[in-house]
Subunit: 227 residues, 2 copies
DNA sequence: CGGAATCCTCTTCGATACTG
DNA sequence: CAGTATCGAAGAGGATTCCG
């Protein structure tokens, strides 16, 4: 029973303080960020959060589970491994992550520091706040992204869409690229045609799809482009 | 030089992680919450954050200032005292606080625990997410709230409004009540007429104003009321 | 092998005391 | 009033070990 449950609280009857009691601890919102893309095993979470330390991850998951933000689940066969996933309450944190991301992205993501690691999952969460439905009219397709050793899925159906981690059954296009290229496409104004011409992206399936994807999901558009 | 500047970072090139590098430390977002209502002196901040400890408040203000979220200012004469206030970047955190507050309020503010303190300022921040412009058409007036020993102002002009701490020049109505009553009006369905009949609110000025105020700003409306 | 509990060191927190 | 100095307690981070 060394696993003490001395949850520290601000002890204020205030909605913001209560929220911070639950998700205000170090690492907690980054765990939630990674879980937004679907159920994850302990090991996957550990990999996506360099520096967290195994005891701390276990403690945070325990706290989030106790608060009803996260629950343990079992993947459908044949995987059948234990995973952590967001509850409905946990999924309701998406507006918090989007607001934080907008603010942090606008004011503090200017330069890339040498010690920064690039986490592929972060981009697929960021896409949830950069989707432009006006560029998705009539689009109905699924993309698979192979980024290093991780696989992500983006699905668009008119004005609705989803992003997640995991393999797609039958994608309309499969993109293979490194995280640097994904970053350049979404944040640094690299265009789809430039990326393809430079061989930075390999496409399997519809070759036009990458251009549609960037139009719908780019975060910082290329300079000099209007509309 | 004990005041080390070893800001801990997640070292991720991710907008959410960067935001948390700046405002993810303990107490930081609660300091920002209090500053949303206007410039504050060190002492005022300390009072609004029971339990923070003076060294920690000083450290947080130093970090926020270094990050460009907070700046030192001087109140206009005759007060002329040194204050802390949000910069434009700091004020841009309002959507984060609103998202956190909505989430915390909906899922974790059910019961009031005996150890909870009630912070008047929190309600005037919460009003920024509960304002209903459809109930403010044609309304153009200022209210002053005297809650215990603190004074707040709410100003409405059609579909725009503001809330802040400090005395109002010429309010159209002045309400004196305790924080319990404010809580009951906004969260527990106490109606303006009930509060007035029970003598829980003293009004100076337009007696109808309290009813208009609750219509525009109530957070959890009284049960059984539609529209 | 994935999923943690344990141990150890270092930093941070929180409270009080103290100073310009 | 506005902080700095100090110190015990708690939390973070890393390595290792244990358990199924």
């Amino acid at each position: 029973m060394a696993a003490t449950s001395t949850r520290r609280s601000y002890d204020q009857y205030c909605a913001v303080a209560r929220a911070l009691d639950v998700v205000g601890d170090r690492w907690t919102l980054l765990i939630v960020r990674d879980l937004m893309l679907g159920p994850k095993r302990y090991k996957e979470l550990l990999e996506g959060l360099p520096g967290i330390g195994t005891n701390l991850l276990a403690a945070r998951l325990r706290e989030l589970e106790a608060a009803g933000v996260v629950e343990r689940g079992v993947l459908p066969p044949p995987a059948a491994s234990a995973v952590y996933q967001l509850t409905e309450i946990g999924a309701a944190l998406q507006p918090v992550l989007i607001a934080l991301g907008r603010w942090g992205g606008r004011h503090f993501l200017r330069e890339r520091r040498p010690e920064d690691v690039m986490v592929p999952a972060a981009y697929f969460v960021a896409m949830r706040s950069s989707f432009k439905p006006e560029h998705a009219e009539g689009v109905r397709e699924r993309y698979e992204f192979d980024i290093g050793d991780r696989v992500f899925e983006v699905s668009v159906d008119g004005d609705t869409f989803s992003t997640g981690e995991g393999r797609t059954q039958t994608p309309d296009a499969l993109f293979t690229m490194d995280v640097e290229t994904l970053n350049a496409l979404l944040l640094e104004g690299l265009t789809a045609s430039e990326a393809l011409a430079a061989g930075r992206v390999a496409v399997s399936g519809d070759a036009e799809a990458l251009e549609r994807f960037t139009r719908m999901f780019v975060i910082r558009p290329p300079a000099g482009l209007t509309g």
